[in-house]
């Protein structure tokens, strides 16, 4: 569980602390990562400086190989960097789908040339990536996707529609599953990289129930993907695509859940504020108290499981089918927490906008609604349960998926 790195790790910690102190602009302390906002305003000079510093150091992607610009650190050192960033009130300015999903996958499956071209801009935070997976008719049954990639010699011509492409309106590149053989299902899919800045690509944001538009529809009309941007073999994209999904699940459940649960006041504190306490100092509503403690227990067990998984992996950070367990457990606990939050706030937890509600209350409502997507995207809760049944428990598959 603990890091048994001893003195060497402590030396590294001091070094990391000093570097962060020297490079992290004080004006950004405690501020959220501007990349996490849906409306991306032009970055300030300090935000740009911090991104550049972290990008050059490679510590935004601490465990990625140094030869492609990564930090080249061990998993233990990587955690030290995270801890020291948190201690300094600093966010990691290097992120997005390139870091969470595409980079690790390309490092595993890409050619040397592909890695040299695409990894360094991700490490530096220069280019953003989006995910071209789902289609209107291919959601849970992803492998039924129909977006065609036609062989035109040195390039593919791409035609079709993707949906739920997160952040496509800000993306420079799209990693995309396309059909290169219509006679087979899984074996007719290829993994290609598409430049989003070309005439054949059109992006339309989709308004969600929380009122925001984090996802888009993306239309490809005779868009071009150069052959050098085919990752893995032709018609061999399914394996790579699935591998990437494991990284996605790990990212959604936050590995250790820190990303999912780090925000906001503890539920018990909120409950005491909005519902009050009885003469013994307990949450006054006994029924609510029971459900708050149930959620606290689920959350704690989830965090302990994340820590155990990390310890058992002994530095091997490659995700496995167990990410399905973590995604289901993490998203369920988080959704319950969001439901409890608005229940605790009562009629103050029903505000949409305007006066009569504070920022925390309005954010709780939007967060509750937005969070409903977490059990749908990245493979729905039902698909994760299929994966657990099939790959971990060895039960028969009724969907004939792979």
């Amino acid at each position: 569980m603990a890091d048994f790195g001893g003195n060497e790790l402590e030396t590294f910690r001091a070094e990391a602390r000093a570097w962060i102190e020297a490079n992290f602009p004080a004006s950004l302390k405690g501020k959220p990562n501007p990349m996490m906002r849906e409306e991306r305003a032009k970055p300030t000079a300090d935000q740009e400086a911090w991104r550049k510093a972290m990008g050059e150091k490679g510590w935004g992607t601490p465990t990625w190989p140094k030869e492609y610009g990564g930090g080249g650190l061990s998993a233990a050192e990587g955690r030290v960097v995270q801890q020291e960033l948190a201690r300094a009130g600093a966010y990691n300015p290097i992120g997005g789908m390139g870091v969470m999903m595409f980079g690790p996958t390309l490092l595993e499956y890409g050619t040397e040339e592909q890695k040299r071209e695409h990894i360094p801009p991700i490490v530096r935070g220069d280019l953003q990536w989006c995910q071209g997976y789902s289609e209107p008719g291919a959601g849970s049954d992803l492998a039924s996707l129909q977006t065609r990639a036609e062989d035109k010699g040195d390039h593919f011509l791409i035609n079709g529609q993707k949906i739920w492409t997160s952040g496509a309106q800000f993306a420079d590149w799209c990693f995309c599953l396309v059909r290169t053989d219509t006679s087979k299902k899984h074996e007719g899919i290829s993994f290609v990289l598409i430049d989003m800045h070309q005439p054949g690509v059109e992006v339309r944001p989709i308004k969600l129930i929380a009122g925001n538009s984090p996802f888009c529809e993306t239309f490809f009309t005779n868009a071009v993907a150069l052959k050098k941007n085919l990752v893995g073999p032709l018609n061999g994209g399914w394996t790579i695509g699935k591998r990437l999904l494991q990284h996605e699940r790990q990212g959604i459940s936050g590995g250790g859940g820190a990303g999912m649960f780090g925000m906001g006041k503890p539920l018990e504190q909120l409950a005491k504020e909005y519902v009050g306490t009885d003469e013994k100092g307990r949450i006054a509503d006994a029924d609510l108290r029971t459900r708050v403690v149930q959620n606290a227990i689920e959350l704690r067990a989830f965090q302990l499981t994340a820590m155990r998984a990390m310890a058992e992996a002994k530095g091997n950070q490659n995700p496995s089918a167990a990410t399905s367990i973590m995604k289901n457990a993490g998203t369920r606990t988080l959704q319950d927490r969001a439901e409890l939050t608005i229940e605790i706030m009562g009629s103050q937890g029903l505000g949409w906008e305007g006066e009569g509600f504070n920022a925390e209350e309005l954010a709780a409502v939007r967060g509750w609604l937005g969070g409903k997507a977490t059990t749908i995207y990245g493979g729905s809760q039902e698909i994760q349960s299929n994966i657990i049944s099939k790959r971990i428990l060895g039960l028969p598959d009724l969907t004939q998926s792979k």
């Binding site: 989709i206 129930i209 029924d287 029903l350 409903k372 749908i376 039902e382 998926s401």
Partner: protein, 362 residues
């Protein structure tokens, strides 16, 4: 389904066809997009009033039809199916109930005919914090004046007559306050469910007492709770039916997703819960019509069970629709948002489970 009289069957059929023709969910969407302050379509409300719906529980001598609460519940259920926003619950049920049960002859004569014709919207103002807690009242009545603050007043911006709970000489009572009184200040609330609501502050506003103490307040609240549960029953039933249609039509893995047993069992559970909820809601409304002594426990049973069911169904509606259910263009989000607002109004599930236990003596 309760055994209905001929009148009730006719009322239900009329409501069903009006809702389908004149007030589909697209009408609610249009109202929401318009941002209208009332939180409902005034034209649609006029049509409802013309059909006599605002006077269903009001005695004939005051311009109503005296058909009773189960009858009104049937209409609210149909309106709930398409999330039709209107002051029927606040005014034609809750406000009217307060006057019927506690009004003097003069008060009834003054207000009930106008409520029945829909020209006056009345509403209850009972809560003072984020949670329903009718016993906790700081608002005071003294020398014909009322002062205090009320929260989450349904149709608070549309109402011209406010039925306000306050501490008076004989404990907590209900008082009539005109919304245009100089001592009434309203703040519109923009809620997630896009329905009309307000916080209201009273500063020495002129008030007239209704007859009856805390028991009047509970009786009026129980009527409002049962009526709201009927609306929730309609909404949850429609949310379920829409989801069931999707399970039968959406194809993945070469088959309709409803062929997967994992989804079948969840659909079966929802259907079971809806049937149980319907029994509870109809029993509560019938108990009110019969002035039965077990009305309070049946009302808490209905609001708690219905709340749990609508909560479940509204979540499953989004989950089973997948990504499309997350979009604003789909109706699932409307049912989800309305569910939480309806759950919170007049006591959520935790409140009513606790009240049920208290009434039963444990």
């Amino acid at each position: 389904m309760a055994v209905l009289t001929e009148e009730q069957s006719m009322l239900k059929d009329a409501a069903k066809s009006w809702v389908q023709e004149k007030s589909p969910v697209s009408a609610f969407r249009k109202m929401r997009d318009s941002g209208v302050e009332l939180g409902y379509d005034a034209g649609a409300w006029n049509e409802m009033a013309e059909m006599g719906w605002a006077g269903v529980i009001i005695p004939e001598e005051y311009g109503g039809s005296n058909f009773g609460y189960l009858s009104l519940g049937l209409i609210l259920e149909e309106l709930g199916r398409t999330l039709t926003a209107s002051p029927l619950l606040a005014s034609g049920l809750a406000g009217a109930s307060a006057l019927i049960l506690g009004g003097t002859d003069a008060q009834k004569s003054e207000w009930l005919p106008k409520i029945a014709e829909g020209s006056v919207v009345a509403t209850l103002a009972v809560d003072e914090g984020p949670h329903h807690n009718p016993e906790k009242v700081e608002t005071t009545f003294k020398d014909g004046k009322i002062s205090g603050k009320k929260t989450f007043v349904l149709e608070g911006m549309a109402a011209s007559l406010l039925v306000v709970s306050a501490k008076g000489p004989k404990g907590i009572g209900l008082y009539l306050v005109r919304a245009d009184d100089a001592g009434v200040k309203r703040q519109r609330l923009h809620l997630a469910d896009s329905r009309g609501a307000a916080n209201i502050e009273f500063s020495n506003a002129a008030a007239e007492p209704l007859e009856g103490g805390p028991e009047l307040l509970e009786k009026v609240l129980d009527r409002a709770r049962a009526g709201l549960a009927a609306e929730m029953l309609g909404a949850a039933t429609q949310a379920f039916e829409t989801t069931l249609d999707y399970l039968k039509t959406r194809v993945q893995f070469g088959q309709v997703i409803g062929s997967f047993q994992a989804l079948q069992h969840r659909a079966a559970k929802m259907f079971t819960d809806l049937e149980l909820s319907r029994s509870a809601v109809e029993a509560a409304l019938t108990a009110i019509d019969n002035d039965s002594p077990d009305t309070p426990e049946l009302v808490s049973l209905a609001k708690a069970k219905m709340g749990d069911t609508y909560h479940l169904v509204s979540n499953e509606m989004v989950q089973m629709h997948g990504g499309i259910g997350m979009t604003d263009a789909h109706d699932a989000g409307f049912y989800l948002k309305r569910a939480r607002a309806a759950e919170a109004a007049f006591g959520n599930q935790a409140y009513h489970r606790d009240r049920y236990a208290r009434i039963q003596g444990y």
